[in-house]
Symmetry: C2
Subunit: 354 residues, 2 copies
DNA sequence: CTGAAAGCGCTAACAA
DNA sequence: TTGTTAGCGCTTTCAG
């Protein structure tokens, strides 16, 4: 029975490389070499080391390693919320790649709080994360923006990469879904189906995603010569409840519309519930479209027309950028999106619906 | 402009405590004390240190700290899959607590692969994680079980805690939803509504959750004197597609049933889709019940009757166990569950449905 | 209250 | 090919 470092007391005994040395009867060099691979080690020494490692159930102290190496094998991932399937998918994509490369993901939920995002970056700086992936729309607060830029610079000064996903930042690599283009696509689709009174449920005004998707809607409507009614534009949280409340508001205010464009699928889900409760049928009375194409969308009735954002793939791309050291100039990958026509959009009813 | 360690070359310059010392003109002791708080430091020194920390944008190297301290502030979380809302919710609960305590979560997706789970535990051992939370049903492979137990012991030998969530393991604290009791509740509900031919869509045979939920179903049926038809029991992956395939199989085989009990909500969602495609109405033709009460379940039509498992709360409880050092004896918290009656269960139709 | 110094566990020169 | 050794950046005695 191999025992770890023999301290007199019964204190928590960590097995170190020295224990392996002793058991294998070699110096630290061969041990380290066997563990890292790719260096010349005699077959005999290798065998003894491997045996000792097995016997002692030895695992290297990652901190000692990181302290020496300046690379921690840690990937920081800061998202708005894991419980939101949009982010869960992105994380799943990131994990696919990290798992294959022997890295570990440190997951941070900012809950869209700028200061907590900043605090996480700082902690990840302390962890000497090899890369920090920041996913989700940018928050518009200028103080925050400035501080974020500052932290990003320091991160990079430490030799870490910073990758944003779904937001643009000077100085960082970015993976950007074509929010504007996607919104344009849905809006044009709605118009082509004959809608002229299109209500908009947009996200929080402070998020860049909100602005981008709204811009696409605007562009399509302008192009079609459809006038916008400010009363038909309501914003809410990017969540099921946000969409629900926004739709209720729309319904209460009494403006006339034949279709709703929700800025993301969670909001579309909420809007659908509100319409159902109000006794309105989708798409017979009101058409509805969302954005993102969350996996769960298939199981909603009617199936919701939306824009497919390849979240998982985006996660993988972020990791690809994180791992390929990259040149000096920040790289931007625009991710194409596509319209997914399902059952929630139809021609407007003969008589306009409230 | 404060510059970091002044090496001749332009190598990645990390700011260390020595830079702070120099700028604040003190020795390392006060710096460390200010950073850690709670130790006597003169006001003047404290001010200078704080100023220097700010000027240098200094963050302590977590690895150096962990190397000395034997506590890393890292919580390892191993789950089956982030993209599954069940686990996403658990992780969200864990994060609530870690965020408040200044710890960081290292998230690992095992994708239900025993060897990858084991590999992650080993990596987390290397990270000197303060605790490892293992969420999701246990995998039945005996070799794996033995190795898991071995790794768990080592983890604990290193002073780390191990907490399981949704599975029982000798030697680890556990947070256990009442799977058996919940399944019993739904099954009894189905029976009380008049169902006698109840099909079961169960999870993978190798998972402990599967056995527990199946046992609850059995118990209720036995109690009610309802005979079980093995042909009405199909297993599949704990996923939407698993449920879909299982339901299709059920439909194809041609056994007669008036209700389906799906062992989790994702499977219930898949089963619902299969029933819909087959032209069967829920609950008019077939009743359907699930398990877990995923948040998205509200938005499915008809709303699915299920068992509420407080996933988020379970996540919080895991962290509570992780943080409160705990005595020697492993603690087990059983989490009560409750039946949530919605629209997917009704009395069986007059004539039995295929 | 503060300075000096040892050492956590590892890797990578460098010398043998 | 292998042994020796010097740190990586931090905390924490131990003196002062």
């Amino acid at each position: 029975m191999a025992r770890a470092t023999s301290r007199g007391s019964g204190r928590s005994a960590t097995t170190t490389i020295m224990d392996v040395e002793r058991l294998a009867d070699v110096s630290p060099t061969p041990v380290s070499r066997v563990l890292n691979g790719g260096y010349p080690v005699s077959a005999a020494a290798r065998d003894r080391v491997e045996q000792a490692v097995r016997d002692l159930n030895y695992v290297r102290n990652a901190h000692a390693q990181a302290l020496r190496a300046a690379s921690s094998g840690l990937i920081g991932v800061i998202i708005h919320d894991v419980a939101d399937p949009y982010f869960a998918e992105i994380v799943a994509g990131i994990q696919e790649v990290t798992a294959a490369s022997g890295r570990l993901v440190v997951l941070c939920n900012s809950l869209r709080d700028p200061s907590s995002e900043l605090r996480y970056i700082e902690m990840l700086r302390g962890q000497r994360a090899d890369a920090v992936i920041l996913a989700g729309g940018a928050i518009g607060d200028p103080d925050y923006q400035r501080e974020l830029l500052r932290q990003a610079r320091w991160l990079q000064g430490q030799g870490a990469r910073m990758i944003t996903c779904g937001r643009y930042t000077v100085d960082a690599d970015a993976v950007l879904p074509d929010n504007r283009g996607g919104a344009y696509l849905v809006a044009r689709h709605l118009v082509q189906r004959g809608h002229r009174s299109i209500a908009e449920i947009s996200g929080p005004p402070s998020l860049s995603t909100t602005a981008e998707r709204a811009a696409g809607l605007d562009a399509a409507l302008r192009e079609a010569g459809v006038a916008r009614d400010p009363a038909l534009s309501v914003s809410g949280h990017f969540s099921r409840d946000g969409g629900y409340e926004a739709a209720r508001h729309l319904l209460r205010t009494g403006g006339r519309f034949t279709a709703i464009f929700a800025a993301n699928d969670m909001m579309a889900l909420g809007a659908l519930a509100a319409l159902r409760e109000a006794g309105l049928r989708v798409p017979d009375d009101v058409s509805l479209a969302g954005f993102d194409d969350l996996p769960i969308l298939r199981d909603v009735v009617p199936a919701i027309t939306t824009v497919r954002v390849p979240m998982r793939e985006m996660g993988r791309r972020c990791m690809a950028l994180a791992m390929d050291g990259g040149g000096r100039a920040p790289r931007v990958e625009t991710i194409p999106v596509e319209l997914v026509e399902r059952q929630s959009v139809a021609a407007p009813p003969a008589r306009q619906q409230v």
